[in-house]
């Protein structure tokens, strides 16, 4: 089922055509131009806006301020807390989804009755529109007076539980994990199913136990799957918006405000275009650190495939 040994990049495709005479640049250029227009040009404008003091409520007072918008966040004591929230959310979600995703993937990597049905049930949370996930969790599951979870806790003797008010970050993490565990599970399952058979059998012949086989045979093989899944998930979690907007609106206080949500508030609630743009640039730099590692893994991966 896996085709991992097929190159990802077209450097040495067996039997693939090399027709230097036929270039057909018109097939590629429109797509590249379109991508430049919708991603690169707006980002350059973001860079440009970030150097001005520009509030849409007082456009007449717009002026050039150089790099001041980049220094401003660091004068704000809340900003460090916001970065902290972003870090806590990303790390917690990645670690928890990795643990649960691995567990689910290993459980699914067996043959048992109804396996495909269970697999389908397990991936469905990932398909649900994030905003729907958010309203269902907020209103039906976590509502302090009528929600199923507080009511169930009440029956168990834990009265007045209100995760949204008292443990808002934990509630948010739980919701995001519910959405993203299927993602990890899918990728790790694909990895598990492509572990080559020979080393597995060899390890069993040598008397390695389940733990030993996992640690020394399966895990090293899974590493690249884990890397790719983690990096992609970090990118997505960094830009989570709908869940925060619906469930907590960044609160109580700023307890669930992340960088992405802060940028939204700065831009579309305080209309502070200059400041928000500087924060946007900051978010892009942060994401690019992840993207560069990701592209490195992808390239390394394709080189390895070629070598084989």
């Amino acid at each position: 089922m896996t085709a991992i040994d097929r190159p990802a990049l077209p450097t040495r495709v067996a039997g693939a055509p090399r027709q230097p005479s036929v270039q057909r640049p018109w097939m590629l250029r429109p797509a590249l131009l379109f991508l430049i227009l919708v991603t690169q040009v707006p980002f350059l404008l973001t860079l440009y806006y970030s150097t001005s003091s520009w509030n849409l409520l007082r456009p007449e007072r717009t002026r050039f301020v150089g790099l001041d918008n980049y220094a401003a966040p660091f004068r704000n004591p809340d900003f460090l807390a916001i970065l902290g929230n972003t870090l806590v959310l990303s790390v917690a979600v990645v670690v928890l989804t990795l643990v649960f995703g691995m567990l689910f993937a290993m459980l699914l990597n067996r043959t048992f009755p109804g396996r495909n049905v269970v697999r389908t049930l397990l991936i469905t949370p990932f398909l649900i529109m994030p905003v729907v996930t958010a309203v269902i969790w907020k209103d039906v599951l976590l509502n302090p007076s009528f929600g199923l979870i507080p009511q169930a806790l009440n029956v168990l003797g834990l009265h007045g539980a209100d995760p949204l008010a008292h443990n808002s970050m934990a509630a948010l993490i739980a919701i995001v994990c519910w959405e993203w565990t299927p993602f990890m599970m899918l990728i790790l399952l694909a990895g598990l199913q492509s572990v080559p058979r020979e080393p597995l059998e060899a390890a069993q012949m040598d008397g390695a136990g389940t733990a030993g086989t996992f640690r020394y045979v399966i895990l090293p093989f899974l590493m690249r799957y884990i890397e790719i899944a983690v990096l992609l998930e970090v990118l997505f979690v960094l830009s989570i918006f709908g869940e925060i907007f619906v469930v907590t609106s960044g609160g109580p206080g700023i307890s669930t405000t992340t960088l992405a949500y802060d940028i939204f508030q700065e831009a579309f609630q305080r209309w502070n275009i200059g400041r928000a743009s500087a924060l946007g640039v900051f978010a892009v730099v942060l994401a690019n650190i992840v993207v560069i590692s990701f592209l490195r893994v992808v390239r390394h991966e394709s080189r390895e495939r070629e070598a084989r």
Binding site: T2, Q23, R110, F112, R119, T120, L127, P130, I228
Partner: protein
């Protein structure tokens, strides 16, 4: 472990897996069930599992509310953005798969990196530009962005499906003097349509579920379902039954599309970096 103990252990493990699957699915199941209750039944404690279903919420939520308008918006934007992404992406993928140059590696990685541009890095200029061009709260506003968002996915996925083609067939057709249009129509597309279908479905899933751009670049006229559903964050959200009906109807098309594309999900989500 003896054979029988091993079998018991395996049975328990399977039962545990089933239990986990049902637990993860529970919120969705509960939403679907609630959509067939009356508002009063929806709130009853202990929760009602067996009840007399009613279609009233579905009729109320879907036909007598702004739901249909937003459903139409989502449908139009999703379809046109997908069409645009396919129209731009398939030729690009073809070129990268069959006529690669020395720059193709770089181009592919660059294409992938554009998909990873955080929305907050581009949203402010887009808002200003759309406002000044009169594109704010229009179908075009979201169509352009969703097409851009899905284009890298189409390029990477379709390229990987093109590379899977048995190339001898394409080559012998070319020897026979088949032109590009004939080649696409009679050879490439018939052989890669499952891949094309998967790419289309994935594009639709991403466009359908998007919220950040939709929320900041539309108000009413072009607001898709995601924006409509987000309004249930207020006290409206205590009409559980009608909210559940609207929410269930909103996710149903994507859930079904996702179930059909299960096999291609890994390829799509990692943009072809990993394949199942």
């Amino acid at each position: 472990m003896s054979i029988s103990r091993r079998r018991i252990f395996n049975g328990l493990l399977s039962a545990f897996t089933w239990l986990l699957g049902l637990a993860m699915f529970f919120p969705i199941l509960w939403m679907a069930l609630t959509s067939f209750k009356t508002e009063q039944m929806a709130f009853s404690w202990p929760p009602l599992i067996v009840f007399r279903p009613t279609l009233a919420n579905w009729i109320n939520a879907l036909l007598t509310s702004p739901y249909l308008k937003h459903f139409q918006n989502t449908l139009v934007v999703t379809a046109s953005a997908t069409l645009l992404a396919i129209a731009l992406g398939v030729p690009a993928a073809y070129k990268l798969a069959f006529h690669p140059t020395r720059r193709s590696d770089f181009t592919l990685l660059w294409v992938m990196s554009t998909r990873m541009m955080p929305a907050v890095g581009v949203i402010i200029p887009l808002y200003i530009i759309y406002r000044d061009l009169g594109l704010f709260d229009t179908y075009a506003a979201l169509t352009i962005l969703y097409a851009g968002m899905n284009l890298p996915l189409v390029i990477w996925m379709m390229r990987s499906f093109f590379l899977d083609l048995p190339f001898e067939i394409v080559e012998s057709a070319r020897m026979d003097g088949v032109n590009l249009a004939q080649e696409l129509r009679h050879i490439i597309l018939p052989l890669t349509w499952p891949g094309l279908a998967a790419s289309i479905l994935l594009c639709m899933i991403f466009a359908w579920n998007e919220f950040f751009f939709a929320f900041n670049l539309t108000i009413v006229q072009a607001a898709p379902l995601s924006v409509y559903v987000s309004q249930f964050k207020t006290s409206e959200g205590l009409y559980w039954a009608s909210m559940s009906a609207a929410a269930t109807a909103t996710v149903l098309p994507v859930v079904i599309a996702g179930w059909f594309t299960q096999r291609q999900l890994v390829t799509g989500l990692t943009m072809g970096a990993l394949r199942e």
